[in-house]
Symmetry: C2
Subunit: 335 residues, 2 copies
DNA sequence: GAAGCATGGTATAACGTTATACCATCCGTC
DNA sequence: GACGGATGGTATAACGTTATACCATGCTTC
């Protein structure tokens, strides 16, 4: 295996200086067609690839964007990543993903890695319970950072998120209009962040429609947890006829539980999910849910970070995207 | 916002040379406790983080490993990533993921990015139809590269994969022993790679058990495609009583289709999936499938790349992991 | 043919680390 | 008190690029 080729190798092979070779590789347009061809041919032949570390150190530019995410194994997030990369790729950037799995230590190591390598920009879904010191660390190194979904950091970063409270209020209102009076908030465990915003919207709607006191039922946001938690909830509160859920996975789990109890989702108990993941439409029965387009959110996120890179001085922005009620078959009039 | 701190800043603040500061940060153990404390304090105060580009360029080491994957939005792959990172993190490495979505152009850009940044190691699930030139490119830059799942590159890389042929042979054998004679291979579209290995195992078993001629039914590997493809298959070949599937998603889709046709998976038509994703166990009915532990495969993958980094001269290795038949409720005697 | 200018090439000093080699002290020993 | 060996600190040359400034050449133009 030959030595890794560097610019010097290419330049020598083409019979020019490294300065010239560099200009050809960057396409400054100052080099004559003849020498350009020679250099390009040599580069191709030697499989030359610029050393991005040296280039980025010298030029201060880095076209690799980091995405620090809380959970890669999540179809919603996967779609977001697609949206982000599609847009950034058209601008010549590229997105590398680090998964913290909602572990704050791992998250810190991941973010430090992004700082170490001086990524050109940083997209970040902060883990639940992220320490203030982590926000401080990031603020101290001005990478162009955008927080996503979970807003924190005291306005020191751009943010893209969902109108959570408005969404759950809308869901609750819809159920109220169908005649439901005993509506629970179902799923999730966090006390702060996104979930607390959603619970706030739900509680506000209960007040507005003069409904029963809120019941918030904790459980992890996956199908299996949702299934067993639904049974517990039904045992403890048989009066409940409708659920506003923290996510589609847990909502589908709840529907499974309802079926296993010999009832039917949308008849005895209505269920509204959140996210509109792919499975929601093909679940049995198809799930009523609050839809936000993760792909579109990803594109928005990309646009925000590009703006920040272009103009680091611009005041921080906040973009909140509304969720839309998609009625399928897990909701119906109280009966 | 203050300037980004560099080693010089820290050294000055602590009243020592950059050489000393560097030694403290790296923990060479040659520096006295007193100065060590001073430097560490200054570093902390200034939120100093080593510039990995400079460090890696000078030292030739890079503790960031790249994972070029064909599809991030895939629960199997997500588990693999967890396994890889867990093991690598204990060794002080860190895994960043690039998703090519089975697009060979995007894949090439991604791999070039890894080469540009001289990642310490490279894990790679080659996209279907990867060009030879891409393998050449990688071979020319000896990053420690390990291919995963899809074997190619003419033995120039280490490889970790699944015993595909043996697995589908085992699945087919099990169905044959239940009395099935008309067994189809269901799902997938690729003509080469993993799927062709699996089809080979299936066909071999048909021969061994003197069964009907093979029927291979193409369709994309997701639930919805599986659902409609099953109906087409049943219309075209009503004699078929069992399916060996290319993946769990498509198998679950097939089960949905069977139900919609008024039959019951495991009764009129038996179905065996592949992968044993989380949903397989909670599907209705629970899916019989060929299980491989993605998490364990991830750990294996990590071990292989670590060995390669430690000893670049060692001959290339191939590790094939067997799949195990997990019997649930979608298979039963022919009847 | 001298002045002015565009064109195309190059020498060189950064960028922020780390590895090497070197130097100053101090301590103990005979 | 001269010598040998730790111990702990530092000056300096890389690593592979790119930006800047500079230089040589040839072409206009009057």
């Amino acid at each position: 295996m030959p030595e890794k080729p560097k610019l010097e190798t290419v330049a020598k092979a083409a019979g020019v200086s490294t300065a010239t070779a560099s200009q050809v590789m960057r396409g400054t347009g100052r080099i004559s067609e003849g020498t350009r061809k020679k250099v390009l041919a040599a580069a191709q032949r030697l499989h030359y690839v610029t050393d991005g570390r040296a280039a980025s150190m010298r030029s201060g530019e880095n076209r690799e964007i980091g995405f620090a995410i809380h959970q890669i194994a999540n179809p919603f997030n996967a779609e977001v990543i697609s949206g982000v990369s599609d847009l950034l790729e058209t601008e010549g950037y590229l997105v590398s993903v680090l998964d913290s799995r909602d572990d704050t230590d791992r998250q810190r190591r991941n973010l430090e890695a992004f700082i170490r390598s001086s990524r050109g920009g940083l997209l970040w879904v902060p883990a639940e319970d992220t320490e203030d010191s982590t926000f401080d660390l990031l603020a101290a190194h001005d990478l162009s950072t955008v927080t996503f979904l979970r807003r924190s950091g005291a306005g020191r970063f751009d943010h893209v998120g969902i109108e959570n409270a408005a969404a759950t209020a809308k869901a609750t209102q819809y159920l109220a209009e169908l005649g439901h009076r005993h509506i629970a908030y179902f799923g999730g465990v966090a006390k702060a962040g996104v979930r607390s915003e959603r619970i706030a919207g739900y509680e506000q709607a209960l007040v507005d429609f003069k409904l029963d006191l809120p019941i918030v039922w904790d459980c992890f946001d996956d199908k299996i947890s949702g299934l067993s938690a639904l049974k517990e909830l039904h045992a403890a509160h048989p009066e409940i006829t409708a659920l506003v859920c923290n996510g589609d996975m847990v909502a589908i789990g709840a529907c499974l539980g309802i079926s296993q109890l010999g009832m039917q989702p949308g008849r005895e108990i209505s269920v509204i999910g959140f996210d509109d993941i792919q499975d929601a439409a093909v679940a049995t029965p198809p799930l009523t849910t609050m839809a936000v387009s993760p792909y579109q959110m990803g594109r928005k996120l990309a646009r925000v970070v590009l703006n920040r890179i272009k103009d680091p001085e611009m005041p921080k922005s906040i973009s909140l995207i509304p969720a839309e009620l998609v009625v399928r078959e897990t909701t119906g009039p109280v009966g």
